[in-house]
Symmetry: D2
Subunit: 350 residues, 4 copies
């Protein structure tokens, strides 16, 4: 018996939307049925509605599909069980609940609902038990469907590397400076005049998101309530002239002292999903031993863009250790994150 689940993508023409399409096009059990976007795009062929910016060509049959409006009542969504959302935050806030109300499971990359008390914010290797809050969400809101969110791109990179450290040694303080790729801001987000031969030391709301989301994800869900993690975290975010791949300088003070080699070991062994046989799965952390890795252009595609690459794990004078982590921000940090959530949810609960 082959499982086939019909899915739709909201915000399908944008840069994260295109990654959803790319990752879903040959998916073994998700069938990409609906491509939804703004009124301006609706009614056009997908290949005409979007400026496809990925190197590999737009899949031909998908290019021919007609884009529908992101209207929860549009009949195109009738047969769809899951929608992946790459909507901008304000639209997500308005529309995702409408889809959930109509019985759809929404796996959302938008920030709108992430910090709600009854919405799971999940990185599947880190806190899959948070899915449980979905029941409370349905009860609270009277929905047949539900909303599952994944964190901000730069949060995902951080928490995947922090989780094995926390489990073994405890985490007391975390300091992060990010160097984030332009694709994180969407196709039109960063003008070339702003970033060629330059860095922008500011990304709107990014530091706040990283600081609050990390504590929710690495916290506990007890009796239906989230108890946030209690370590201190301070972040500084920068935009750099790199196409794809967020790089993060991470400093961690552990509760129990840990040698760099021990950190290497717990990271390398961290692999909680390896037996689930999920199509989008890759080893969550790849360790590079060279002194000058990870590098965005050379390492972002490790694990088909789903692995975090970590290197330069070493002692620090203030924190216990420091290291550099890299994530493909539009795959592991966005579309791939939502899809891996959906895959795991289905394996566990359906």
């Amino acid at each position: 018996m082959v499982m086939r689940i019909k899915v739709g993508v909201l915000g399908a023409t944008g840069s994260v939307g295109q990654r959803f399409v790319q990752l879903l096009k040959d998916h073994p059990f998700f069938e990409l049925e609906v491509l939804a976007a703004s009124e301006r795009s609706a009614g056009k062929k997908y290949s005409e509605a979007c400026y496809w910016y990925l190197p590999e060509s737009i899949p031909e049959d998908i290019g021919e599909k007609l884009v529908v409006p992101t209207d929860p009542d549009h009949k195109a969504f009738e047969d769809v069980d899951i929608v992946f959302s790459a909507l901008p935050s304000d639209l997500a806030k308005e529309l995702e609940p409408e889809f959930a109300k109509r019985g759809k499971l929404v796996f959302s990359n938008a920030s709108a609902m992430r910090m709600e008390q009854d919405v799971p914010l999940v990185v599947p290797e880190v806190n899959p038990e948070h899915f449980e809050v979905l029941e409370i969400q349905r009860e609270n809101r009277g929905w047949d469907g539900g909303i599952v969110t994944n964190p901000n791109c730069s949060t995902i990179c951080a928490v995947i590397t922090l989780k094995p450290i926390m489990d073994k040694f405890g985490v007391e303080m975390v300091n992060i400076t990010t160097m984030q790729a332009v694709s994180g801001a969407g196709y039109w987000g960063v003008p070339s005049m702003a970033i060629l031969d330059n860095i922008i030391p500011y990304i709107k709301n990014e530091e706040e998101k990283m600081e609050s989301e990390s504590l929710k994800i690495l916290g506990d869900l007890k009796n239906g309530k989230f108890h946030y993690a209690s370590f201190k975290i301070g972040v500084s975010c920068n935009r750099v002239p790199v196409i794809d791949g967020h790089l993060e300088s991470i400093f961690v003070k552990t509760v129990e002292d840990a040698e760099p080699e021990e950190i290497v070991k717990v990271m390398d062994n961290f692999d909680p999903l390896k037996d689930y046989n999920l199509p989008t799965y890759a080893k969550p952390i790849v360790i590079r031993k060279e002194i000058d890795r990870p590098q965005p252009r050379l390492d972002r595609d490790n694990g088909r863009g789903m692995s975090i690459t970590v290197g330069r794990i070493r002692r620090d004078n203030i924190f216990t250790v420091k290291y550099t982590a890299l994530e493909h921000n539009t795959i592991r940090g966005a579309a791939g994150a939502s899809i891996l959530n959906a895959e795991l949810y289905i394996k566990k609960y359906l």
Copy 2:
């Protein structure tokens, strides 16, 4: 009476050497007399010996000068009182003492002698009293001249911003992640294939230099001995695709608590050299209030490349404050640093 001091530049054809030439060409009291470089360049016209990479043209009379070898006994150095050194470290270690022995004052940008017990490592706004150790140096080594060093480019940016904080509030811990321009590695240092659409999370010896040099500079000289500063400092260094301008995310824990506005104020008021009338002087710290500044391309030339630009001074969850600082690495961070040292030394001691 007009003071004229004849000077030479060692390593005049490299990227820092060219900045020395640019900054010295119309200097009111330094007369650029000798351009010295490796045997390969010696005997050629300067304009032919070096690939001039700066936008403004090579000054014509300087382009016509013949390059001499970096031989301390070469007769070209006879009339020279000061030599500026942009030599690679190994050559500096060997040759700078020879020049000092022959009575020259060496103002060196090289790292070779910086951490020696009797060598001043000076940022003129920060620790000009360290010049005093020169007397001990002369005594120890039997030199008529002497060697004064300036720190590594990324150290200068950090200590200039830390000094006014330390003076007012005390400093307990400092955490820095740098994003450094390619010119810091010299013209041939970073291949384009290594850095286009990329970041390299490693610069050889850079973290060690920043950590040790900062403590020497911000420490005290008492009875001819250096007492290093006692705060903790941890650094992570990265190379980014930017031509000029090192950007640093700096986190500081102060001894006494300080509001961000107070930090802004002490930085803005920090101006210990303003009455010396030094030709290369500019206000040491320029504060930008915009949320997304400083940026390398827009701010590196503030104060003709001699000002550190600081922005985003704000609270942090672990440290007292965090901010972003920018320095023109080949001017303020290298050639300009040596020249400002020489200018102040002359005003104070000659």
Copy 3:
């Protein structure tokens, strides 16, 4: 007696508008009185209405000025004699005639009116005699003022280098491939995702403009009618990841044969405005002899951005000669072009 002429800038907040402001701020006889922009900006301080993208700071007194709407009847324009236009083409078509009707002299960088039969399209070193058609324009249209246009950025670079060749040897065929900087498309014109590690081999309408404008400019005005130049010209335009500076590979077949050295000579001697003492004037063509020049980053600021830099003048197998020319596209190719037109017009006719 000091001449003072009050001027305004239409479209003052955009990338060309900012160059107008930069070039006019200390102008000896133009007084920058009015900064006009869209309704969205009107009423705000200039420093708040625009994202100032130039390295040097926004002039303080100008930053404080209030932006007015681009309404020809706005009272701010009452005392203004000249308006410089950096309007988008559609707005230019509608508004520039209204300003001319109200007695203003409009010096426009917009493309809307360039090819009109009674509108001069002038590069002041090349075809200043075309100003004469202004009289016919006023007669035809019943205007007290008038509209003078300058060509597209990449056209200016080409025609300045072609003019001295045409005068001496005649021109039969011209082939050009351009490599154009991102600033030519305006601040938001080229997303970083489109151009990092990339080239876009297409710029809308650019090839057509270069082909038609060149023939008008290098043609004759006889008895009030334009006779276009008769040489053949074919162009291919590309966008490259460079901030400022359009580079053009130009191939020219002359009527009479010409040695490369002769081409060098006529270009180097080409200097028809040198005796006019115009504030924005610089030597129109700077020749670089090095084998690998001109280069955008190193040569775009020659002549304060007003000189075209030419190099690699050599024989070709099909054409008589080929060479590489570089222009600062937002100074010489836009704002500076309009201002130099205005300066010459005033010297000649007022």
Copy 4:
């Protein structure tokens, strides 16, 4: 029966050498036996001898191989039948004949021997019949082996697109301006300081190579003598800040007039190797219909880097048509070109 041919790579650690390794690692009938490089690398593991700059990891078994010196008498070459050469030109001139003398077939990407009267310069889709001159070469030089060369990267891009035009309409004149990626100059070839925010309008010997090689390749071999093609060709070469992918603006005057659509058609139908079943084969020309393609980052990997992508085929005012062509310069333009030559030669002659 499975054909296995043992091969070696000369210059295996450089940027083209790495592409050879990448393309040969899972080859169906070439077995990569010997990795040869300079004395400095010899004796080290390949993974230690080279800085592997490609995104995908170095194949593990190959990384473990010991590098041997490029000594034709080294016993490692004993069992090898074919050597691929990525040597610098001066070494190639000296060493390739020595390998040929010892019975090896040398498929060389070096320029040293390309224009020799008895050396085939082959693009397999264009002039495979030139292989025939190998017999004369062996006779002339008394070799058991032989040398087959492929052209310069930017020549290959041009001649593949010119061949179908020439066959159908004849070619009278060709004008090309190139925009070439930095990888074409090797890993250390273009410093980042030279090319960030910049273009270099010069590549040593490149224009001469394109002009002469094109005429040899598109010429005839009759009675063992090359008769060069007789069209005129003029070229201008530029280096741009792009990692991989040479872009060329090509203008062609045909003997018989041709509509753009006809050019599209002959290019699209051009596929002389499709029935040979060669492992490295891909459709030689891919046509993109979008107005702004091909683009290096989006199109260089078409056909696994072996297809030339062509777009913007349109009328010109001087030439019959103009178009833009793109080639992955280190695959189709270098390593892949040599390997495809070898594959075809083996299919035809062994």
